[in-house]
C-alpha cells in the first residue's frame, strides 16, 4: 500500500478509532453501573444480616439491669485484663499455683468465691505471683453435673472464671432445681459466652472428661469437701490447706 493510499485512508481510520473509544467508554460506564448494582444488593444483604445479628446478640452489661441477674459488671471488672486459658486464671509463668475444688451448687464455695477470691485475684493473680486452677466436682446432685459441664463449655472459650463467678453470685438453693435452661442461658450471656455453645457442651460426652479428671485429682489429693484449696509451686499442687 502506498503512503498516498494510506493518507487517503486516514479519515476512515480516525472515525473507527473514535468509535472504538466511544464504545470503550460506554462499556466502562456499563461495568461501573453493574458494579454499583452489585454493591447496592450487597448493602441490602448486609443490613439484613446486621439486623438479625443485633436481635440475637446482647450486651452482657445490659442483662444485669433488665434480666434480674446480679454482678455482671462486677464479674467483668474482676477478671478484666487477666489471661484465662481453659480452667486456668492468671499468668502461666506464675511461680505458685492455687488449685480450687468446687461444686457449683455448694454454698460455701459461693462464700469463698464472693468474699475471698476477689482479694486473692487482685493481690496475687493480677500481679503475676499466683495462678489459679479450677476443678469442678459434682457430688451434690444432677444439677451439679449440668453446671460443671456448662462451666467447662465456657472454658473452651476461656471464660470459665467469668461463668463460675457469675453463677456463684446468682446461686440458688442447693438441690432446688434452680439450674434451669433460662438460668444457664442468662449466666452464659452475662459471662459473654454463647448460650448455644453452653447447651451443646452440656449435652456433649466430651465434657465428661474434665469432670472425671477433676474427680480423679480430688481422690488422689484426698479432698473431703468443697471448697478445697491446694497450694503449690508450678506445675502442680503440693498439699491440702
Amino acid at each position: 500500500m502506498s503512503s498516498q493510499q494510506a493518507n487517503e485512508g486516514q479519515p476512515g481510520s480516525d472515525g473507527e478509532a473514535l468509535g472504538e473509544q466511544a464504545d470503550r467508554r460506554q462499556s466502562r460506564r456499563g461495568r461501573l453501573r453493574n458494579l454499583g448494582v452489585a454493591a447496592a444488593i450487597a448493602a441490602v444483604v448486609v443490613v439484613v444480616l446486621v439486623v438479625v445479628s443485633q436481635q440475637g446478640g446482647e450486651e452482657p452489661a445490659q442483662r444485669s439491669g433488665g434480666g434480674g441477674l446480679v454482678g455482671v459488671a462486677e464479674t467483668r471488672t474482676t477478671f478484666a485484663g487477666i489471661p484465662q486459658d481453659g480452667t486456668t486464671l492468671g499468668d502461666p509463668e506464675a511461680p505458685m499455683v492455687l488449685t480450687e475444688f468446687i461444686d457449683l451448687q455448694c454454698f460455701s464455695c459461693r462464700q469463698a468465691a464472693i468474699q475471698v477470691l476477689p482479694g486473692v485475684i487482685e493481690t496475687y493473680v493480677r500481679t503475676g505471683r499466683l495462678r489459679l486452677e479450677l476443678r469442678t466436682l459434682t457430688f451434690i446432685g444432677p444439677d451439679s453435673v449440668r453446671a460443671a459441664k456448662a462451666a467447662h463449655a465456657a472454658a473452651t472459650r476461656d471464660l470459665m472464671w467469668n461463668f463460675t463467678e457469675l453463677w456463684f453470685l446468682n446461686q440458688g438453693e442447693e438441690g432446688s432445681g434452680y439450674a434451669t435452661n433460662p438460668f444457664i442461658r442468662a449466666i452464659a450471656q452475662g459471662a459473654g459466652v454463647n448460650p448455644q455453645l453452653v447447651f451443646d457442651g452440656i449435652k456433649s460426652p466430651a465434657l465428661q472428661v474434665p469432670l472425671r479428671e477433676a474427680e480423679r485429682q480430688a481422690q488422689a489429693a484426698r479432698v473431703q469437701g468443697t471448697p478445697t484449696f491446694l497450694l503449690g509451686r508450678r506445675p502442680g499442687p503440693a498439699s491440702p490447706s
Binding site: R28, G57, P83, D158
Partner: protein
C-alpha cells in the same frame, strides 16, 4: 493486570479464607480451644460471645459458606459470574467490617482469626471489584462468547 491474574489472586485469597473459616467452624463443633497467640483470652471471648452466632448459625459457618460461594463463582465464566463474585465479596467485606466493629467496641476483645478473615475478605472484595472494572477484551478475560480474543486482536483495515 489481566483478568486471569486477578482470578488466580482471588482463588488464592479465597482458599486462605476457606482454611481460616474452616478452622473456626471445626473449633466450634469440636469444642476445643482456639489457638490464639499472645494469650489474654481475646479469641475465646469473641468466639464465645452471643454475636458469634446469627439466627443460631455460627458466624464461622456463614463465613465458610461465603468463601465457598466465592470459590464457586470463580469457576464460572462471563460477566454475570464476575458480578456475582464481586457482590459476594462485598457482602463478606462489609459484614466483616461490622463484626470487627463489634470486637472493638462491644465485645472489647480481638480475635486474631477473625481479623485475618476480615483482611482476606477485604482483599477479595478489592480484587473482585477490580476484575469487574477492567475491560475483559483488553485484558485477556473470557466473556464466554469465544470470539473475544479474535475481536481484540483484529487490526484496522489498510
Amino acid at each position: 493486570m489481566t483478568d486471569r491474574r486477578l482470578r488466580l489472586a482471588l482463588l488464592g485469597v479465597t482458599a486462605a479464607g476457606v482454611a481460616v473459616a474452616g478452622y473456626l467452624t471445626w473449633v466450634h463443633y469440636a469444642g476445643v480451644g482456639l489457638l490464639c497467640a499472645g494469650g489474654g483470652g481475646g479469641c475465646g471471648r469473641v468466639q464465645g460471645s452471643s454475636y458469634a452466632t446469627l439466627a443460631g448459625v455460627p458466624v464461622a459457618v456463614i463465613g465458610l459458606g461465603g468463601y465457598l460461594a466465592i470459590l464457586c463463582s470463580l469457576l464460572l465464566r462471563g460477566e454475570p459470574a464476575r458480578l456475582a463474585t464481586a457482590a459476594l465479596a462485598l457482602v463478606g467485606a462489609a459484614f466483616s467490617a461490622y463484626l470487627t466493629y463489634l470486637e472493638l467496641f462491644v465485645i472489647e476483645a480481638i480475635c486474631q482469626w477473625c481479623v485475618a478473615s476480615a483482611i482476606l475478605m477485604v482483599c477479595a472484595a478489592a480484587l473482585a471489584c477490580w476484575r469487574v472494572l477492567i475491560d475483559p477484551h483488553e485484558h485477556g478475560g473470557f466473556t464466554g462468547t469465544g470470539q473475544d480474543r479474535l475481536d481484540a486482536r483484529s487490526s484496522p483495515q489498510a
